[in-house]
C-alpha cells in the first residue's frame, strides 16, 4: 500500500459555450495528449488503469462507458466509469493507486453540454419518478427553494450572493479558459431576470463544453517522473438524503462530512489556517457561501460577510474561485470537479498565468453534482 499519491500531468480542451469544430472524442483526445505530454508518459505502455466519469442521459448514449477507451489510448486496458463528478473520478484513481496495484492511473471527465438540446428536461429526469416528477418541479425552482431556506437559516443576504457573482465573473477576466468573464456591478446581478425567488438568472452558472484529463502517480513514480508533483493530501466524498422530502435544505451536510474525511487524511484541524485557497462549487452563487460554511472555513452565517469584506477575493486572505468558478468559467457538468482540480494544480505549480495567486502551498477543491443530488466531494492538494 502506497499512501502518497500525486497529480503529475494535466491536460484540457475547451472550455467554450459551443465547440462545433470538435466531437467529444476529439476534445478528450486533445486533453489526453496534453496530459500525457505533461506527465511524460505513454498511455499504451505506462498508464496502468483509466477512470472516466459520465452519465448516460447527458451523453445521449446508453452504457456510455463503451465509448471511453479509444480517445484515451486505453483500449484493452483496465478502464471503468464512475457515474459521478470529476472529483469522484479523482478519488477513485487515488484509491486505485493506494491499493498498491497501480503506479499510474489516468482520470477523464468531459462536457459536451452544447450537444444536449433538452438539458433542463434531462436534469428533471433525475427526480424521483413517483414522488417528485408528477409535481413538475423545475431544477432551478428546487435550487431557489434551497437558496431561500439557506438565506433564512444562515442570515446571509441576497446581496452577499450577488457579491459572489460579481467576484467570480470578474476573476474570470484573468483566466483564458473562462467563457463568462465580465465586469459587473451588484445592480447588474439584481436587474437580471428573476427565475425562482430569491434566485435570479444571473446567479446561475451557464454550461460550457470542455474536457480534462489528469495523470496520477504513486509516490515512487511521481518523484521519478515529475519535477512538480501536486500531492493529494486527502479526499472525501459523501451523499446526504436522496429524496427532496427528507434532506436538510438550509445547509450541506454532505459537504461537511466529505470535508471532514479529507481533513482527517490531510491532518487538517483548522482549514482556514491550513489551506491557502479554494475552488468550490458555485453552480448557483449561494452554493459558494453554503460550501464555505460547510467546509468550516467560517462559522455558519459568516460566509456572506467574508465575501463582502474581500477575504475571498484573489488578493484576500482566502481566495475562493480565483479561476472564476463555474459562474465565470462555465459549468462543465460532471467535468466540473476536474476543472477545479486543474485550476488548483496550476495554481500550486505556479502556472496559473494572469490569475496566479501568490505563495500558495495548499489548495482545497470541492464539487457538487447539482439538483436534485446531495452528492459532494472534497480534495486537498499541495505542492
Amino acid at each position: 500500500m502506497s499512501d502518497r499519491v500525486a497529480i503529475i500531468g494535466v491536460g484540457w480542451a475547451g472550455f467554450k459555450p459551443t465547440t462545433p469544430h470538435q466531437s467529444y472524442k476529439e476534445m478528450i483526445y486533445e486533453a489526453a495528449r496534453r496530459a500525457y505530454s505533461d506527465a511524460g508518459v505513454d498511455p499504451r505502455k505506462d498508464v496502468q488503469s483509466f477512470v472516466t466519469v459520465a452519465e448516460d442521459f447527458i451523453e445521449g448514449t446508453s452504457i456510455f462507458d463503451e465509448y471511453t477507451p479509444d480517445q484515451l489510448g486505453a483500449a484493452l486496458r483496465p478502464v471503468h466509469t464512475i457515474a459521478g463528478d470529476g472529483l469522484h473520478g479523482l478519488a477513485t484513481a487515488y484509491m486505485l493507486i493506494r491499493t498498491g496495484m497501480f503506479d499510474l492511473v489516468a482520470v477523464e471527465g468531459h462536457s459536451k453540454a452544447s450537444n444536449v438540446l433538452t438539458l433542463p428536461e434531462v436534469v428533471y429526469y433525475a427526480q424521483d419518478p413517483v414522488l417528485n416528477r408528477p409535481l413538475r418541479l423545475n431544477t432551478h425552482f428546487v435550487a431557489g427553494l434551497e437558496m431561500n431556506r439557506f438565506l433564512f437559516e444562515s442570515q446571509n443576504t441576497r446581496v452577499d450572493c450577488a457579491e459572489v457573482v460579481v467576484k467570480n465573473r470578474r476573476n474570470a477576466l484573468r483566466n483564458p479558459l473562462a467563457s463568462y468573464a465580465e465586469e459587473l456591478e451588484l445592480d447588474d446581478v439584481f436587474s437580471g431576470p428573476p427565475l425562482a425567488f430569491p434566485l435570479g438568472a444571473r446567479e446561475i452558472a451557464q454550461e460550457a463544453d470542455g474536457a480534462v484529463v489528469m495523470v496520477l502517480a504513486s509516490e515512487e513514480k511521481a518523484t521519478l517522473l515529475s519535477e512538480k508533483p501536486i500531492w493529494i493530501l486527502g479526499m472525501g466524498w459523501c451523499n446526504d438524503a436522496a429524496s427532496l422530502e427528507s434532506r436538510q435544505w438550509g445547509s450541506a451536510p454532505y459537504i461537511y462530512t466529505a470535508a471532514q474525511m479529507a481533513y482527517r487524511q490531510a491532518g487538517i484541524r483548522n482549514p482556514l489556517e491550513a489551506v491557502d485557497f479554494a475552488e468550490v462549487d458555485d453552480t448557483y452563487a449561494f452554493k459558494e457561501l453554503q460550501a464555505l460554511e460547510a467546509l468550516g472555513v467560517c462559522r455558519p452565517g459568516e460566509a456572506g460577510e467574508m465575501t463582502a469584506d474581500g477575504v475571498t477575493y484573489p488578493d484576500g486572505d482566502f481566495p475562493v474561485n480565483a479561476s472564476g468558478g463555474s459562474l465565470g468559467v462555465g459549468h462543465l457538468l460532471d467535468a466540473t470537479g476536474l476543472m477545479r482540480a486543474l485550476e488548483a494544480t496550476l495554481q500550486l505549480r505556479g502556472e496559473a498565468g494572469a490569475h496566479q495567486l501568490q505563495d500558495v502551498e495548499v489548495g482545497l477543491v470541492q464539487s457538487w453534482r447539482g439538483v436534485p443530488t446531495t452528492s459532494g466531494a472534497v480534495a486537498i492538494l499541495a505542492n
Binding site: G60, S62, P78, P129, N239
Partner: protein, 388 residues
C-alpha cells in the same frame, strides 16, 4: 508494504423476478439488509457504499445512482456508483475491494440493482441507444442480432453444433431449479426443448437467452483485521481483473473474447493462480446466452479455444463434476437483472466456498472459485477470484 487483504463477510439477494412490485430503492434495501444481517452488522458499521447498476434507461431515471443512494444504504456516507455495462455486477465487488484495499475504509457495502421491467413494453429497447450514433444506429441493430452474429461466428469458427450449445442452457436451468431466488429454474428441461423454442434471431432461440429480470444483490466486504474479528468464515477476494476493449467492436474477432483473457490473467496473477484448470474449483462465467458461457470459459483459460463445450458433454461442468460451472443456475436459470446478476455470481461463490449453498452445494469442499462478467459492445471483461 503488501497489499491489504479484503474479504467478503456477508451476502444477500432478492428473488429475481420478471416484474417486481418493489421500486429499485426497495429492492436495493432488501438485498442490503439481508447482507448486513448475514454478518450481524447494521448500517452504522458501514463506512462506504459502492453501487453497481447498468444503464439509466431501464429505470428512466437520470443519475440513477443518486436516486438509488438511500435505498442502497448510503445516506450520510461516502458513496459511488461504477459501471461497465453488463460487466458491472462483477465490477462492483472490485470497487468494494479497492475501497478497502486503499486503506481508506475497513468495511464497505456493495449493492447491485437492476429493475428492467420499468421499461415498457420491453427492456430490449433500452439497448437501441448503445450503438455508435453515426456509424451504427442508422442500421438499427439490436442486441439479439449482434449476439446472433457472435454466436454464428463462434459456431462456425470451431464447428460447434446448436445441440451441444443447448447443453449449457439445460445444465444451468436445471441447476437453477435448486435456487430459491431463481426465475427460470427447470429440473426437467431437455436439449430438445431448447432447440424447439422460438427462433429470435438465428441461431439464437428463446431458451438460449437469459430473461429480462428485476432484482438486487448485496455483499459486505471488510479488511483483514475486521473480517477475522467479525466472521468465522471470511471468503477472500484473492484476485481482481478488468479490461475494456475498443468501442469499434466490428473490428474484433468475435470468436474469442480477448478482453476476458486479459482480465482473467490480471486476476490470476494477483491471486497467484498459475494453472487455472487445476487451481480453480468452481467457475461462474457470465451466461446471458448459452454460447457466452463457453466463450467466457475459454477466455478464462478454463478450456482451450473451441473446446469449452466438451466440459458440458463430459459432465465436468455438472455440479458434481470436476469443475462445476454455474452451480447457481447462472443468468440463464436464476435470471438476468444485469448488474445484480453479476453480483449474484459473487454471492454464489461466497455461499459455495463457505459450504452454505444448500441444495446447490458442490461436493468436495471447494477452496477457490472464479466469477466473471462481460458487457458493453462485446467489449469488457470483469473477473474476481475468491478463495477461503
Amino acid at each position: 508494504m503488501g497489499m491489504r487483504k479484503v474479504a467478503v463477510i456477508g451476502a444477500g439477494m432478492t428473488k429475481f423476478v420478471r416484474r417486481a412490485l418493489e421500486t429499485g430503492k426497495e429492492l436495493s434495501w432488501e438485498a442490503a439488509k439481508m447482507a448486513l444481517e448475514s454478518c450481524e452488522l447494521t448500517l452504522d458499521d458501514i463506512e462506504a457504499v459502492c453501487l453497481g447498476t447498468a444503464p439509466d434507461s431501464f429505470d428512466g431515471v437520470h443519475m440513477k445512482g443518486e436516486y438509488l443512494s438511500d435505498g442502497a444504504g448510503a445516506w450520510g456516507k461516502p458513496y459511488m456508483r461504477s459501471y461497465v455495462g453488463g460487466g458491472t455486477g462483477v465490477f462492483a465487488p472490485i470497487q468494494g475491494w479497492y475501497h478497502v484495499a486503499s486503506g481508506l475504509f475497513d468495511v464497505a457495502l456493495v449493492v447491485a440493482e437492476e429493475k428492467m421491467s420499468s421499461f415498457y413494453p420491453h427492456a430490449q429497447a433500452a439497448f437501441l441507444t448503445i450503438f455508435d450514433h453515426t456509424t451504427e444506429r442508422p442500421l438499427k441493430p439490436n442486441l439479439l442480432w449482434i449476439f446472433a452474429l457472435e454466436m454464428n461466428r463462434y459456431m462456425s469458427t470451431y464447428g460447434i453444433s446448436k445441440e451441444d450449445i443447448a447443453r449449457v442452457s439445460v445444465l444451468h436451468k436445471r441447476n437453477a431449479a435448486d435456487h430459491p431466488c431463481a426465475l427460470l429454474g427447470d429440473a426437467n428441461i431437455t436439449v430438445e426443448d431448447v432447440l424447439n423454442s422460438e427462433v429470435l434471431a438465428y441461431p439464437v432461440q428463446r431458451l438460449d437467452v437469459s430473461p429480462v429480470s428485476d432484482g438486487a444483490v448485496a455483499i459486505v466486504v471488510a479488511a483483514e483485521h475486521v473480517a477475522k474479528r467479525l466472521s468465522d468464515k471470511p471468503v477472500w477476494i484473492e484476485g481482481v481483473g478488468w479490461h475494456l476493449d475498443t468501442a469499434y467492436w466490428t473490428n474484433r474477432d468475435l470468436a474469442y473474447p480477448r478482453y476476458v483473457e486479459y482480465a482473467a490473467r490480471m486476476a490470476y496473477e494477483m491471486a497467484g493462480v498459475t494453472e487455472p484448470r487445476k487451481q480453480i474449483h468452481i467457475a461462474e462465467p457470465y451466461d446471458p446466452f448459452d454460447y457466452k458461457a463457453l466463450h467466457h470459459l475459454e477466455g478464462l483459460q478454463l478450456a482451450e479455444r473451441g473446446e469449452a463445450v466438451q466440459l458440458y458433454i463430459d459432465g465436468v461442468a455438472a455440479r458434481d463434476g470436476d469443475l462445476p460451472i454455474c452451480p447457481s443456475g447462472g443468468l440463464l436459470g436464476v435470471g438476468n437483472p444485469i448488474a445484480a446478476a453479476g453480483l449474484m455470481k459473487i454471492a454464489e461463490l461466497f455461499w459455495q466456498l463457505r459450504g452454505e449453498a444448500g441444495a446447490r452445494q458442490v461436493p468436495g469442499h471447494p477452496r477457490r472459485g472464479v466469477a466473471q462478467a462481460w458487457g458493453d459492445l462485446m467489449q469488457v471483461g470483469t473477473v474476481v477470484v475468491m478463495g477461503r
